[in-house]
Symmetry: C2
Subunit: 351 residues, 2 copies
């Protein structure tokens, strides 16, 4: 499908009520949240839980985290990475956002009959290397093959077990008025790079995915701020807007951000202009947003900037007592606008 | 595709060398083992590991197991179950085969656009109920949606973290000459039920999948035999033949089984006759095969028979010093035949 198809981008209130799963239900935006809240979580018997990137639990005193992600990115190979590295980074990062270091990974393939064995080898090698670079290992896996036409090439599901770092007490529900909001680096890079590679747009040459593991950055932040670090989130599907809205909703607090502080690289801004996208809704795979107590902000920012992944870290805004559950941006021209989650899908299959 | 397509069932030596992934690479038979050994494990950096249903590791003294499985069963709803329950049972059982009790599950969906929301709700409810019945919970998940034609309805990947039971020391590599081979119940039920449901064969009415959790049975066996219980395996894809061959190969020992002891229900035998299948190659989802020291056999068998899942348990055969890596069956008519793994695929998408 075309990215610019306006019927999909703005179709009137698609919802669970249509009785069909829509592309938008996989967007990471409002439709995703609705499907989760209304259909999946009640059926699993986990309704009412705060949605997190990973779940926390304990076994015999060991403080663990568990996260799973299905990857359906198209194309499988793109500037800056491939589905294998992306799948490992995505899971390592979801664990990192819970303050957990990866301990063991599981990886499952669904492969379409006829898929090139050499591509499978490259993707597997990339996943293995990404795991090693993140200090962990793929310890178990599964491979299923379906007939031609029953899948599009290859899908990967990665699951990670993490060990929660001592001192880490992060939760999307823990933001408090007076906290600061920090961002580790540029937004929107991965999503625009994928669209550029898929559609062959001219801007593709300037853009490579920022996919990378964030566990070192997250560990440095936990070490620097301890319990003053309240929440972390990596803005993937749904972009920074979804990440901030999830924190605001779970914490029942307002968030205000400053457009002047927002790091949008020029090629990302150009691509978004061309495609009619808001960079706040475009996925990255190499940055994180954090909420911390104001008194810890300077130490935290310094710790972030000492890591390669966080050298571009900025103070993006603050948590406020007003407009609980809402994110508001102070614009460059001195106005204010609500930063909402995207309703449905603008960039299908970017991860 | 048709099950009976002879070009697929017996195509001459399809292998990684063709350069394309074949349906047979997902069979759980020899092609699967070859793909794993030659392509995936070296790329992951885990070549040389004994392939197990689950991986064992430890975190802060907690003895854990991790297992992942992708499910692509067609149809999604079948007599005796659906993909949701099957996905949970499959993962619970893979953990159980490592002597581990399930602690937390993760579940990821890849959904084709247009999939009925009501079916998603039913499948999710079934997965949630299966998790609860197995004493665990789906604690995290993911949902991706791909466009029409890019997947066939819905795929599920489940991953489980287990706590290894104290006293459990099972490994596919631990079978020793003199050990006995035990089987908990009938073979081939799930696979024939799925084919019957998919193809609308007459025998379908008599067959329902045996999908169920085996963690209670496995725990009873660990309690009864402790370290005398050497190996456990649930014969899913590739059937009992693959499970026994994997144990024989990993343990570098021979296995002999008695056809007279083999529990093949009449409807399974009839279906296999009709379709030209060997019941030894057909998946079950509700039985397990175990290898244990001979002196523990009676206690173990009694413990198995006291559980609902193991009430039909039998002594199937023994581990021998001869023909290491090979499985031999003493037939009803007094002959001997080698029980080999299936080369490729005879029953695609049964799990």
């Amino acid at each position: 499908m075309s990215v610019a198809d306006p019927a999909r981008a703005v179709c009137p209130a698609p919802s669970v009520e249509t009785g069909r799963v829509l592309l938008g239900h996989g967007s990471g935006g409002r439709l995703s949240a609705e499907l989760l809240r209304d259909v999946i979580l009640p059926a699993f018997g986990t309704a009412g839980d705060v949605p997190q990137d990973a779940a926390a639990f304990a076994v015999d005193g060991a403080r663990l985290a568990l996260s799973t992600d299905a990857f359906v990115v198209d194309p499988l190979f793109f500037p800056g990475g491939d589905i294998g590295a992306l799948a490992v980074h995505g899971t390592v990062n979801d664990l990192a956002m819970m303050g957990a270091a990866p301990v063991a990974l599981a990886l499952a393939y669904v492969i379409e009959e006829g898929f090139p064995v050499e591509d499978l080898r490259r993707i597997s090698a990339s996943a293995g290397a990404a795991a090693a670079a993140a200090g962990t290992r793929i310890v178990t896996g599964d491979t299923k093959v379906v007939g031609r036409g029953a899948a599009d090439g290859l899908f990967v599901t990665t699951t990670g077990v993490g060990r929660r770092l001592s001192g880490a007490a992060v939760s999307a529900a823990a933001a408090r008025p007076g906290d600061v909001v920090l961002l580790s680096g540029p937004i929107g890079v991965h999503g625009t790079a994928i669209i550029g590679a898929r559609e062959g747009f001219g801007f593709a040459a300037e853009l490579a995915s920022d996919t990378r593991p964030l566990h070192r950055l997250a560990a440095a932040m936990v070490a620097a701020a301890g319990p003053a670090l309240h929440a972390m989130r990596d803005p993937t599907r749904g972009g920074l807007a979804s990440a901030l809205n999830e924190i605001a909703a779970a914490s029942r607090a307002g968030i205000e951000i400053d457009e002047a502080a927002l790091p949008v690289p020029a090629p990302v801004a150009d691509a978004c202009d061309l495609l009619g996208l808001d960079p706040l809704h475009v996925a990255g795979e190499g940055c994180l947003v954090a909420v911390a107590a104001a008194e810890a902000a300077d130490d935290l920012l310094n710790a972030m900037r000492r890591t390669p992944e966080g050298e571009g870290a900025v103070v993006l805004g603050r948590v406020v007592g007003e407009h609980p559950g809402r994110v508001v941006m102070h614009t460059l021209v001195g106005g204010r606008r609500i930063v909402d989650m995207l309703l449905g899908e603008q960039l299908p299959r970017i991860c």
